[in-house]
Symmetry: D2
Subunit: 351 residues, 4 copies
């Protein structure tokens, strides 16, 4: 094994990324070193590439990006017994502290001292990545590699969909980016009845249908609230899965929600959202849930069970597959607004 | 409309049933009269026909049997506004009192003063049946008549399956009578991963596979506990759906359940069951649920949503379809142990 | 029994109320007529008296006001078996339709066709009130009459407090009007640990301490968020009970809530509230609940159990007791901002 | 600090215990060494002393007993940042593996590979005890030392009581050993309404009243089922907390439970228990929960919050306080059937 490796990094406090040759990470007694086989690009990576205000406040260059990935365990620290070299794995890249109030309550995903690999420390856009063994998720060989590379966002979708009752429920997904699209497939696989989706981008609306949505609406051309109420005898949907972060979509979502319904919010608005709390939440007796990350590790258990059972078809989501060196093409395509997941292969294309 | 009608009745405290001509029921201000189009025979009807000990204690002849059915509203009482003649309906045949502790808590299905139409008062094995309007369930035309005739037992299955988390869960169904078989289909439609089923009857094992079970085991020839533990890395299943009422199956079910799992019991044992409470419940931190009837009317909402979405295929369940006059052939076939649902048509075969 | 009675009514579309002599209501087969012994004035009654915009849109004069009360059953309709003359009762004054989606789901408190006695039809500020028997709540003689007169708002408090875990939880009550004050007592009786309360009115702050609040803060003089975070090691409270309807208090409440906490909203803002959904709900993984009315009738069961057990001391809440004829003095006092509950006695002061 | 210390140990596979001088434990990078200030004797310790069949199968002498304790951190391993010498602590003595299915799901208390300090490895009946830092529970100085010494069994009680709704619920505690007694106090502190308790031992019945039970019944002299049904208008109790492990008490508990009620089982029967599953669980729609250990660490959070708030009075529970050297007197007293908790002080009586 060579002493250095290729890594895609934010090297300075400015726009852009670059490939650098850096030392292979050395691991501690409770860590594993993983040879990265496939990675996927998150919207967060685009923000860091573009060096927006959030990135400027959070990222401390130099740092290797990348938190959606899968790979093969290369070696493990001396205290690690549950993993061995050769294991096919992905990982929860959110690191919790273990001793704050939330960690003690089993709510590690909202730990007060959370750090993220690929954001706050070197990530997976590299030939190797170092990860605490406890965060590694061993994968069944039945899970295909390209699915294994996107478990992080699939986990967001599963966390959101399964945050309440879903079987036999009518559902509205507002926003059909990758996680919204995955949510459609997950909801249908878990027994939701009618699934509505709203999205202004034509390409994504077509994908929403492929993922299984029953009614895909374009809020730029039609009033989704009116359509949804008409289709539900005036009652509204049982469940809102908010994936857009757009104030107008959030408001339409709440207006489409039935009294007693559940609104699970994952999309990130960039500003305060004025809510009609009286009509949309209080008089409705609605339940609103903020959803962040993935439950550690309940969501991973659910997600891999759904995949192993073959119940969730994600194929329509995937776009191009490139070597890590071609990262500029990948990022350019994604900045252009294309919805699919682009995979990058730090150790060469596997097929 | 004629003043009398044909009805299949228990006419005296002895074995057997007979067809009688009886007056069409007159209805009260809050009732509906339903023209019965299709009915289905429940195991309870077989017990009443056979006049077993339970029947002798409960049934007061003469009484018309039948509590699984669908039909068309013929007329409604003067206080009824939510129904009109011509509506396609089924009904919850359990009548709750409305003022006991459980009714006040929204647990009407376990009302302290429950009466059952078709058991404690005249039922649906007749051309017409009288039912309180509040118990009538209006059906979407999208639901086929033969499905509509078996919503009562399907509701038992849905109640049991959805009494806890099911998406991404491994499941064991012990006992593949009609409700066990429906439970398999419902669990798969709601995202359960691997579904195991146990059943000694060969015909029913074949049906269990048709309904979607992943592994169907014959406890007469193989140790289901050993097989299930082996298939789950020694962990056991997340969910036990007990549908047999057989002590051995119940015990095998508990031994197959993982620590922290859910055991939902619907099958009715005929005697006390010795349970290893320490190993199977307490040290396991298991949750055991008694399941009775259908939630009024949450289960009906879920069930019709699942059917309307086309997610549950019950076709393999259906056996012969007969006119009510041929009831003897129907009961004989069922007493012989055949698993499927036999439909009887009091107003003539509809197709 | 006389054919007419005294009633406090909104007689025309303008400010003010007046006492009128009206016919004693005649009851239907499923109703009860209740002789009203004690009533209490709700904030809603003040709005109707003052004829604000909401009242102008909702109230159709003439109508008798009053929905907080207790009394003695005078007579019952022919279909009523669960009540008899002489029973000591209060009632849920929200009438649900029984057949909408929410009613079928057991969520009658958010029925799509809700009507309110004392708002949409003649209420309890009268010698007698007509109520459907199913809405009547029989009371144990152990419950004192003045408590029985305020079960409606106490039910709001109990519904809010018990909408999630409360034992061993830290709690913030924002707004110490009558329902906020009751919530403090209920939360303490149900095992909450530290209870914080915020309120700008000095008189109400004093009452909050009497009701059992551990820390009562005045947001006009100190920063409640800073104080609460400091007192909880920076974590925030487990539960927010929002009782003020004030945007600033709502925002302070969310900023004081811990990640993973519960925010139960009962107070009614008069305009849209800009929420920092990202920091206060989504990244926090918070659960926000709209609370309306009382669960029918689960909340009534809980509330009377807590009262019978002597666990909730409401004595500090009570202000003056007046005959119905003195309504002008009662309303004037309440318009002046005094917090306590004023009782009015339509059939004369009982002690 | 001396290199050796005094410890109370099972030294060979036979009846009895003895004090030995053993090396002070050396700790690993993630451990803490705690100077034990107070300990308490569990029923399990009595079984091990008496060398019953369970002990013979589980205990591998020599081993130091003791798993109920509190103390002061003496020193910590090099990786430990959340603790420092001088911290006042107790600890969860159940060690979970961290990687089995249950650990991954946040159900560490039912880990498949659980080990217990004081059973499977050296415990706290010694001057010092070694414990993994993650299992240490830091205590607020507001919690008195004698309470801190019995958090392990108090956690069992809190885990059982709070395993479902408790506020406003009627409760039956079957069996008034220490954990049953604690459950009474915890249930009352959390808003339960009427609490019934059954116990044959007169001394314990008296303690049950001191702890706050409303009705204490002696099943040797009166039929508790009949009494409880009579006191609840024939409905039965909402919650059964089974603390006895006695088949007759378990059966009485189930017969006293209302339809729709919760039965939480903590007591350990020594043989299979014949249950009337049909009448007591299935037709009742009951929920039965096995309770084991304490949730890690949700129960610890709840328990310390309840104690800090001063809501749970445990004073009546405490019996004698002895130096560790007097262990024979302590064990003799407990073998004689006295209910209270006896404290032993390995580093000398603290007051």
């Amino acid at each position: 094994m060579s002493a250095t490796m290729k890594a895609l990094r934010k090297t300075r406090a400015a726009k852009g990324l670059e490939i650098q040759e850096v030392p292979v990470p050395s691991i501690g007694a409770q860590d594993a070193l993983v040879r990265v086989t496939a990675t996927s690009i998150c919207g967060t990576d685009l923000h860091i590439d573009g060096w927006d205000r959030w990135s400027q406040g959070r990222i401390k260059p130099p740092v290797t990006l990348g938190h959606e990935f899968c790979g093969i365990v290369e070696c493990v620290g001396e205290d690690v017994s549950a993993l061995r070299p050769g294991d096919f794995v992905s990982a929860e890249m959110h690191l919790n502290c273990g001793h704050c109030h939330q960690c003690r309550l089993g709510e590690a995903h909202i730990c007060q001292n959370l750090k993220i690999i690929g954001i706050d420390m070197d990530g997976a856009f590299a030939e190797f990545v170092k990860i605490p063994a406890t965060n590694i998720w061993k994968l069944d060989a039945a899970i295909p590699e390209h699915y294994a590379a996107i478990l992080d966002p699939l986990g967001n979708a599963v966390h959101t969909v399964l945050a309440g009752a879903i079987a036999g429920q009518t559902v509205l997904v507002t926003g059909c980016g990758p996680i919204g699209l995955m949510s459609i497939a997950v909801a249908k696989a878990c027994g939701s009845s009618t699934v509505f989706a709203t999205e202004t981008n034509e390409h994504r609306r077509a994908m929403a249908e492929e993922m299984g949505a029953d009614h895909v609406l374009n809020p730029a051309c039609e009033d989704p609230v009116k359509k949804i109420l008409a289709a539900t005898s005036g009652t509204g949907v049982d469940v809102l899965l908010e994936m857009s972060g757009q104030p107008a979509a959030i408001q339409q979502g709440f207006k489409s929600l039935r009294a007693g319904g559940r609104a699970s919010l994952l999309g990130i608005p960039t500003e305060n959202v004025p809510l009609d709390l009286v009509q949309d939440v209080i008089f409705k007796g609605a339940t609103v849930q903020g959803i962040y990350g993935r439950r550690m590790y309940g969501t991973w258990v659910q997600m891999t069970a759904l995949l192993k059972a073959g119940r969730v078809n994600l194929e329509p989501l995937f776009g191009e597959r490139l070597a890590l060196d071609n990262f500029e093409a990948a990022f350019a395509k994604l900045h252009s607004g294309m919805a699919g997941k682009i995979l990058m292969y730090p150790n060469g294309l596997t097929k």
